[in-house]
Symmetry: C2
Subunit: 326 residues, 2 copies
């Protein structure tokens, strides 16, 4: 479909061949010894037997795709979200602007948006029966501090009383909408999640990967152990780094950092470790670019920089890097 046939407008449309999804990874597990309950499953209906003994599928991830009629790139783009989040990260921003998935579709990529094991549409399994421990939940208070919207003491239930960092680019008027995106997470499932993601990648073939926070750490791990899956990895503020670089030097890396890292002890340490990791990769001949936004004079970006008011400009930088690297 030639560009000239597209409707006029600032945002050209996206010519889709198919939208759909698949689940990858997972295994069967049999539950026994559970009490058989009589439950009113539907309102205005008699109780029915609910018997949780039997076979479950556990450990799968969810992958949603949009395939274009005439993609502009041979290699598709995959997205991995961060901790306590889902693929919704890459969709519309909390204040209603088109998200990165939309941007990269318009740029010509087929997209695969993943929900990690036990997040979002991937579903989760009973604990302590199948998962051994309990999940953790994120509060708005924690999100405020960890996403570097402001100092921890700057959070208030009263929106008018909040004290963010100066010039923060996140749409703080939509903080409740952002809070709606958070889901429970387990903290012990990194291996299970990577196993499911590898199964997904065996189906999709090699991808450009954009990964955020916990997903960024998983992506660094994946590049180190399975470089064949990646044309390149874009890592948004990784929460940690792998123990070793493995074969990661074969994969081009772009790391992206927002502002106010020095205002938060954890972020200071995450950044320092990631810089060490990047240095190690480079010493092994790896191609590593670090997009340090404040160092370029772009201030106010948060840990949710794909939702900040300059999100599209950052996406454009990623696109440039992909074009240059590919």
């Amino acid at each position: 479909m030639p560009q000239s046939d597209k409707p006029e407008g600032d945002r050209p449309g996206i010519w889709i061949k198919e939208t759909g999804s698949f689940f990858a990874g997972g295994r069967r597990v049999t539950l026994t010894g559970q009490p058989i309950q009589q439950v009113q499953v539907s309102q205005n209906a008699p109780t029915r037997t609910v018997d949780m003994n039997g076979e479950n599928i556990t450990g799968q991830c969810y992958v949603q795709y949009l395939r274009q009629e005439a993609p502009g790139f041979d290699t598709p783009l995959m997205f991995w979200h961060g901790g306590s989040m889902t693929g919704a990260t890459w969709e519309t921003t909390p204040d209603g602007r088109p998200g990165w998935q939309n941007f990269f579709l318009q740029a010509g990529f087929d997209t695969f948006v993943c929900d990690a094991v036990e997040r979002g549409r991937a579903g989760w399994s009973p604990f302590p029966q199948i998962y051994t421990d309990a999940p953790v939940f994120r509060t708005l208070n924690d999100v405020w501090a960890m996403f570097r919207f402001g100092p921890p003491e700057g959070y208030s239930p009263d929106a008018a009383a909040r004290r963010p960092f100066p010039g923060v680019r996140f749409p703080l008027g939509s903080l409740d909408g952002f809070g709606s995106q958070f889901v429970p997470r387990w903290t012990t499932h990194a291996e299970m999640t990577l196993a499911a993601y590898y199964d997904a990648l065996r189906r999709t073939g090699p991808v450009w990967l954009i990964a955020h926070s916990q997903g960024g750490h998983l992506a660094l791990d994946a590049a180190a152990t399975h470089p064949e899956f990646f044309k390149g990895v874009v890592i948004i503020e990784p929460a940690s780094v792998p123990r070793g670089t493995g074969r990661a030097a074969r994969v081009p890396h772009l790391l992206i950092w927002g502002d106010n890292l020095n205002e938060h002890a954890l972020w200071r340490s995450y950044r320092a470790k990631a810089d060490q990791y990047a240095d190690q990769l480079r010493s092994e001949g790896g191609e590593v670019e670090i997009l340090d936004l404040p160092a370029e004079g772009i201030t106010g970006n948060t840990h949710a920089l794909m939702m900040d008011d300059n999100a599209e400009q950052i996406a454009a930088r990623i696109l440039d890097w992909i074009k240059k690297t590919g």
Copy 2:
């Protein structure tokens, strides 16, 4: 975009203006008195404080949309999934065929695919701290019986030893893939879910609604209490019916039933109640059509008829009904 400009092929492409999502409904709730934990949130990282005291958002649903450049219908289509399921219901079938969302996009509708409160990307809240009770989980054994793939005793962990009903149209070779789609559910959240769906409908404006099973029951409730939201409702095998018809006679209803209802006592009773409800609606002047597939000689359809081997033919019947009704 005139039809003649579309690429050739059996499956014409879909010209998308934007893909995205929003969350609707929900409220803030403050959690107190929770123990403060030190948790290793990321691998290879030091433990960090996890404090679940503070504000949470609870009660929201998730709505994913695909808006077309040139929709063929003024009124968009919304999908509500069934119990223990998510919007993935409407995407690719477990054996990899395009799902109903794709069908209705190609037919020209803007689509809104919902995840109910506490399902999928909508996220869920801690129990017993915010939700008062525990969720229930679905086994493959339960799915086998309740989706009428075969008699309960026909299920076996060994696929080769399973004894389905004769001529069942569900792709039973992909039963594990179907099992991957199931998520935990609470059984006491119908009102909370409807409140969130109504908030979503206030944003979208009136829709054609396609709803499955538990979602079908919710849809009957919604049509009875909020008819202004619906041009028409398509109800796939509702698990129950409302106590009263309310103002539902203002909304055209299409009810769809698969095969082997008489082989399962619960389904026999669900069908009988739904027929009574339909009779009541008709006696009030309501426009109700019942698509009883076996009565038309179409046998073998299951409770997951949007995934059965004739799913596209059933979708085409729905499309005909919408065109006729609209």
